[in-house]
């Protein structure tokens, strides 16, 4: 009996001393590529390998393709549950996996998903937008009230179906403006808003720039736009790769936005005229002068 007790105590001590420390549980998924831009003719197909990596704890994941639509004008997506017949174009070529099928992804492991897109010969011209969504299945058990959290990560797929060699997309600058007042203060920041509408039936990549000329017509800045995608018949706010940070600007300025869809020569442009005056400083000087004047007048009256 003593031996048993002794062995139990020794075992307990070893357990307490050498038990592996509990690691903080995390869910961490990566997907490559985050965006896939495809133009296919009806009757053609394409294969793209996706790589999913689990940098968190062991988890069970599932791949599915979900349609999306643009959410806002900054390139964000809103997943849609509306059935889309083009979902049938997608399949996984992995021997042991299919879309909608769960599989285990060990901690630190990667899984390649071979996604095939087959466009049937009868498909009509047009665009379809999807997200390849990797859902991590929640394996936790709640013993009392609470919420189970799950994470998903998605890579977007822009699919253009066309039987034409050249898409010849067209765009129009819907709005070119400056955030805030049209008359800017010399000490303000200058945030330009360039809303560009894709007026064609296929997504386009907007290539262009914003040029700024001063009162004397001299070009003083050229700010290239980031070449963002604009979905068919939708509007996107373009952002410049650099910001305009002039030193004490003053006078009348002209900003001209020029955008050409990539692979086309259909250039569109729009001009914005704005004034920059140091009115805050002038106002401050006026107030100080007024205060000084009132002070002097008051003294004189005394």
């Amino acid at each position: 009996m003593r031996k048993i007790c002794f062995s139990f105590i020794i075992g307990l001590v070893f357990f307490i001393l050498f038990v592996s420390p509990a690691l903080a549980q995390t869910l961490s998924l990566s997907i490559w590529p985050p965006i896939l831009e495809v133009t296919l003719k009806p009757g053609k197909s394409i294969t793209q390998v996706y790589r999913v990596k689990n940098s968190g704890d062991d988890t069970v994941v599932m791949a599915q393709v979900v349609p999306f639509e643009a959410a806002g004008e900054l390139g964000q997506v809103k997943l849609s549950s509306t059935p889309n017949p083009a979902l049938a174009y997608f399949s996984l070529q992995n021997a042991d996996l299919d879309l909608g099928q769960s599989f285990t992804l060990k901690s630190g492991a990667s899984q390649e998903l071979v996604l095939k897109i087959i466009v049937p010969p009868t498909a009509t011209n047009g665009d379809h937008y999807f997200t390849l969504l990797i859902d991590a299945d929640t394996q936790s058990l709640l013993t009392a009230s609470g919420a189970k959290a799950a994470g998903s990560i998605g890579g977007n797929i822009l699919l253009s179906i066309t039987d034409s060699e050249v898409l010849n997309q067209t765009a129009k600058i819907e709005e070119l403006s400056l955030k805030g007042l049209k008359i800017k203060d010399s000490f303000d920041t200058f945030d330009f808003i360039a809303q560009v509408k894709n007026s064609s039936d296929h997504f386009l990549k907007a290539v262009g720039q914003l040029t700024i000329t001063n009162t004397f017509g001299r070009k003083i800045a050229t700010l290239p736009f980031r070449a963002d995608n604009i979905l068919a018949q939708s509007i996107r706010q373009l952002v410049t790769q650099d910001s305009w940070e002039p030193v004490l600007p003053l006078g009348r300025y002209t900003a001209t936005a020029t955008v050409t869809p990539e692979n086309s020569t259909n250039t569109t442009s729009q001009t914005l005229i704005f004034w920059v005056l140091p009115y805050k400083a002038l106002l401050a000087i006026a107030l100080v002068s007024l205060f000084y004047y009132l002070l002097k007048t008051k003294k004189r009256l005394k």
Partner: protein, 473 residues
């Protein structure tokens, strides 16, 4: 006869004396001569391989019959002139596809797409010549000769056998200074075949007054280091990629004008031009999304959390009546996609007993106006229900924050909160935080808050909340 013999002996004696005591030679070599090019890249000179479709951005070049025979020595961002003598347009290289194809950023114009239209990328370089004088020469000049090739020596197009003059003018030169002379005159540039400059070499001169010192170190810079420099040659005939083409540069010191500028000292050196090495590395675009638990008593959202969470479980445990419990998780996103990302949240349904639909703990309306799209203050524990807030760490654009005093109906700045959008109610997922640029481990805490009233049926309530991170398109 004796006279002839005497004359002959005297002649040979003089010859012997001449040989033994020769007159000192005035001419010598300039020493330490070197020509440093600001870039030794070969220019690019090729042509379109077949007619191209107007509007295309993929350019295919010839692999024989032109100075350049591949896309080697073309680089992303290079300016290339494509076209013929009638029309030509400057394009920007977007990417090198393979050995005979590259991509340009803008569509190829209709006048620039004929088979054989030239594809030219010029590489201009300033030449900085450094040398040391060997002889003291009064009122002389320094002349530099740089090979020009035979044809088109000043047309702004690279030559395959020399440097194009590129309409350099005197103002683009920086002549020598000091060297012991009284003064230097402004240097001059003369195109090969111009007045006083033989064909085959461009001439650059700097005249001086006074006498130079011996062993004077001088420099002579040709080109302004910007737009007006000599244009480097394209690959020479029979050029092998990776092997430099060499050209002979001559530096002379000549005597004074009164003596017709006689050549006194001269040194020739070789300069080499070669393709640059294209170093490539691919960084895959990717997006990474992480959910991590937060330990109890962690300070976030202006409170101390009540219970430890994990990445997948937010366990409120047993609830006291009309008492807040607040738990948190940390969401982190990294992406090198230039357009950024967005993280959205969506609950399957409200907290249902044992995961069912009824009875359930309703999503809270906060202190009055809280919905899944409108945030509101939520500071009164008797306003029962479930909701969340955000404590931003470094995410670029959080949808809102617990401390907001404006936006939606929030004014208090204590715990501004929202309901989760519910899939069961066909509500659209709502953005938690986002960015429109690359992101390096941007994170924010989501703070879950729950309070229940006395009429809530006993039991365990749960739901599922899904966070989705997607790159922007």
């Amino acid at each position: 006869m004796a006279k002839v013999g005497l004359i002959s002996i005297l002649f040979w004696v003089f010859q012997l004396v001449w040989l033994v005591f020769p007159t000192p030679l005035d001419s010598a070599n300039l020493t330490a001569v070197k020509d440093t090019l600001s870039t030794s890249r070969l220019s690019y000179y090729d042509s379109l391989n077949g007619a191209h479709t107007a509007g295309t951005t993929i350019i295919k070049v010839n692999t024989s019959g032109m100075p350049s025979t591949s896309t080697a020595n073309l680089f992303t961002g290079d300016s290339v002139l494509i076209g013929d003598a009638a029309t030509a347009t400057t394009y920007t290289v977007d990417d090198i596809i393979d050995t005979d194809e590259f991509q340009i950023t803008a569509a190829l114009g209709s006048g620039d797409n004929d088979s054989g239209d030239l594809v030219i990328a010029t590489r201009s370089a300033s030449h900085t010549l450094a040398f040391t004088t060997a002889t003291a020469i009064p009122n002389g000049l320094i002349r530099v000769l740089i090979p020009s090739g035979a044809n088109g020596v000043n047309d702004g197009i690279p030559n395959h056998d020399g440097f194009d003059f590129n309409t350099i003018v005197a103002g683009d030169l920086t002549g020598p200074s000091s060297g012991g002379v009284t003064s230097w005159e402004s240097p001059t540039a003369t195109v090969a075949g111009g007045t006083g400059c033989s064909a085959g070499n461009h001439c650059f001169e700097a005249r001086y007054n006074g006498t130079n010192s011996v062993n004077a170190s001088l420099t002579f810079t040709i080109g302004d280091g910007g737009a007006t420099d000599l244009i480097n040659p394209a690959a020479a005939d029979g050029h092998a990629a990776g092997t430099a083409d060499t050209y002979t540069v001559t530096v002379q010191q000549r005597g004074s004008m009164t003596d017709q500028y006689p050549l006194l000292d001269q040194t020739t050196i070789k300069v080499a031009v070669i393709e640059s090495v294209r170093v490539t590395a691919t960084v895959d675009p990717t997006i990474t999304f992480t959910i991590a638990g937060v330990a109890s008593t962690t300070s976030t959202c202006g409170i101390s959390t009540d219970v430890t969470t994990t990445a997948t479980a937010v366990p409120f445990g047993t609830m006291a009546l009309n008492t807040f419990k607040t738990l948190a998780q940390t969401l982190t996103v990294s992406t090198n996609g230039s357009g950024g990302y967005a993280v959205t949240s969506l609950e399957n349904d409200q907290l249902g007993k044992d995961g069912g639909t009824t009875p359930f703990i309703a999503d809270s309306t906060g202190d009055g106006a809280m919905t899944h799209t409108t945030q509101d203050d939520w500071n009164t524990a008797t306003n029962n229900g479930f909701g969340y807030s955000i404590d931003n760490d470094d995410a670029t654009t959080p949808a809102f924050q617990y401390s907001d005093v404006s936006g939606g109906s929030c004014t208090g700045g204590v715990f501004c909160a929202k309901q989760f959008a519910a899939n069961a109610d066909t509500e659209a997922a709502q953005t938690i935080f986002s960015s429109t640029a690359v992101a390096n481990a941007e994170n924010a805490d989501v703070c879950y808050r729950l309070t229940i009233g006395a009429t809530q049926a006993a039991g365990d309530y749960e739901n599922n909340i899904t966070y989705t991170a997607t790159a922007t398109f």
